[in-house]
Symmetry: C3
Subunit: 334 residues, 3 copies
């Protein structure tokens, strides 16, 4: 039984098939690929696009999504094995995942890091706990990666360039400032999918402290080796933007300061000029700009960039619906 | 593309058609006017009737409602233009409304005033923000007016009197006490629809401080000019109730004290006797009583009034379902 | 019009028919017994299994469930009659139940005790308030009893033993430790249904302080008189487990300390050894173990017991879906 925990677990052929299905679901909204089936959407963190797109995707294919928020309107869950559960958690993932699997055909999980200890958060314990105990396929709705966003992003780029072959495009993943130290999930994912698609990828960030976890740097290197393209790291804004076909922005906290954000704050504050603006976009090869949303305007990107015709963030967000329908349909009918 | 932000934006012919559709939906519960379609219900404030009736209305017509609560289980939203978003808000209404419009066919919005500055609240910024950026029709689920309640109320009165023509009826909108300074939305709406229907309307309130905003007093005057009927303001309970065919109750905070409620409290506390009771109802012309609910019993109206046969508040609440189905069907198929 | 407030209100014939329907719904998941119909699920307390199973049950039978959480995303509700509602509650159960009844075909209610005054909590005011004012059938989704769990439990036992006739089985309901003083609902229910099914029931608990409320002890006695079997109370672990066919565990607070839990805590702390473990299970007649979930592992039962083949807690949880479909179908089509 296949889960959808990361794009890296799926072959390029499988990913291409899902993207093709997504394009088809975009043309034909209503179908019966999930008729009478159901998905539990388990949210440990808030969501707008993810919830709406999964819930509607299920509906449009004849299925039903149940939205659960453990610790809020459901019980808090224990993920460690062998624990004497005398603390706050009321039930173990073993029971949660097994019982949900009896009710539904698919389980989606959103679980952000706790931002205390990266060594622990990078284990993706919540998602893996569901995948371990569930007897139905599990979908990553964003944990320390965001594979559904990857597919939506890839589809938006394929639509923009009018081809499924993205090789030869210069792709810049740029760090941007944000008042809070954010999750690296979407950055990890952008690096993963951009290299998977064989693009020439530049990771632009202020300093080496802002490099991504070695797992994802490693996936990217492996993808370059297998799919062509290239990967380079840059700390120079202008040369990174020069000639870019795609600019993708994301803010994240520096991993060496993970869980100890006070000293990172003054460092991060020095790099507010990484904001995506018209001057930088003018350096590109008539490039497109995108972002996973939510985006703080005039912090990560200016109003002018967000409102420009070359901003395809809303297209990408729309594609969440279509790619998730494709993923759900593929998993529920495997 | 037509929104449903206020009844005043719709022609009398259009409103009459919606009320006729609502009566039909009341007779035939199940249909396919929204087959495969969807609505996002965006709640910035709590709801029981509104959520239930919209969600069920969509279901009964073959559609699906997604319920979102920004700032609770979705991201907090920025409504001002040009803001450097370094505060609490995580995304701008421009993106929220555009993205939702890609997912759904209709957007409903509930956003009560913030009760700090009426000059700001009266701009109805949240609703107008959605209407500005959305590319699908937007429905007001109560902001500073409550047009769905207006239609439900009008339909309940048409049912009670056995005619769609309400002209010649004496209609009393009475202020009542409530421990908190409440929203004027339903009062604004009652004044608007009662005058629109050509009734002889009396606005009964303790003092001139409790008059409604000039925008709604103006709409009422305009409606009288166009639809016949009359409008008067009274501070005398007994003469206002005398001969009334309809008594509609609502509590609201006095606008001159908006955002500065401390000094208003002792004033408001003097008028607890505005409660709707059997003695007052006995002064009417065998009149009906209604209220938008929720209602605090023995504060706004006595148990005896609420449980009397002339109380049609539950009928009115039921009609929310029917009128909203008519509004959704009209907007989704325009 | 019949409600489903307690199994004790239903005849044995009716219960047997519901269990037979549930077994049928388990074989044939999709149906139209609730086509176009709806249920409001009113949660005053959190839920995972209950919400998911009711929501999916409605969907799989062509209906729709609306989930409401009063005081959280709906208005707080007043349950007392004649109250001057100048406190926190915004509307009276009379209006809530009447209005919901206009919208939906069924109402489910979850309302745990407030844990302050058992004399008050044992009146089950919230559930009874809904049943009093609603004009549609009301279903108990757990208050001070949990009749849906009873049916799921009974069905799991019938499946395990391969017969609908459970007479002659030795059934042990064992109290277990838990860091908090919990609701007696499931214990009351287990005692009720086990005696109703004519089993030989032992209530195992640390001391007489942990006996259940006399109402449920009385129901059990009445059930024994009518259905055969037996009922005994034991404070001795080994003799209670000896030869048992079924071990059902639940923790609850001692009623004599209700609302005054401080002095009960050190007493309860002495009985952590009531945990269900392999040594105790080895005393049984190759017995099965079950629990209503959520369960704190290594507090109420050990990992080894939870992961053993004789643990049927997940089967029981699954059956919630099937029995609730049977209850909803029976009530909506009466």
């Amino acid at each position: 039984m296949k889960h959808f925990l990361n794009t890296q677990d799926w072959s390029r052929t499988e990913l291409d098939a899902v993207l093709a299905d997504a394009a088809r679901f975009k043309r034909e909204k209503i179908g019966d690929a999930l008729k009478g089936k159901s998905i539990a959407l388990v949210f440990f963190n808030p969501s707008m696009r993810t919830r709406t797109s999964f819930e509607l995707g299920a509906f449009q294919l004849g299925g039903h999504a149940v939205v659960l928020a453990p610790g809020k309107d459901a019980w808090p869950i224990e993920f460690d094995l062998g624990t004497v559960m005398d603390g706050d958690t009321e039930e173990h993932i073993a029971e949660v995942a097994q019982v949900l699997s009896r009710y539904v055909d698919l389980i989606g999980v959103r679980a952000f890091p706790k931002f205390v200890d990266w060594a622990s958060d990078r284990e993706d314990k919540v998602l893996k706990g569901f995948a371990k105990y569930a007897t139905v396929p599990v979908i990553n709705m964003e944990t320390i990666t965001h594979p559904c966003q990857e597919l939506a992003h890839a589809l938006a780029l394929q639509e923009h360039f009018g081809t499924t072959d993205l090789r030869g495009k210069k792709y810049v993943l740029t760090w941007t400032y944000h008042p809070k130290a954010l999750n690296t999930a979407v950055a990890n994912s952008a690096l993963t999918i951009a290299t998977r698609m064989g693009m020439d990828v530049t990771l632009l960030c202020p300093t080496a402290d802002y490099l991504l976890d070695e797992r994802y740097m490693g996936w990217a290197a492996q993808n370059v080796a297998e799919n062509g393209g290239s990967l380079q790291v840059s700390h120079d804004i202008d040369s990174a933007y020069a000639g870019a076909d795609v600019v993708y922005a994301k803010s994240w906290g520096a991993l060496p300061f993970f869980g100890n954000w006070e000293p990172e704050k003054p460092i991060r504050d020095q790099y507010k000029h990484f904001i995506v603006d018209e001057r930088k976009m003018a350096l590109t090869n008539n490039g497109v700009f995108s972002h996973c949303l939510p985006l703080r305007r005039n912090i990560k990107a200016t109003d002018a960039v967000m409102d420009a015709p070359y901003c395809i963030a809303v297209n990408e967000a729309e594609n969440r619906l279509h790619v998730q329908k494709a993923v759900m349909a593929a998993l529920a009918n495997q």
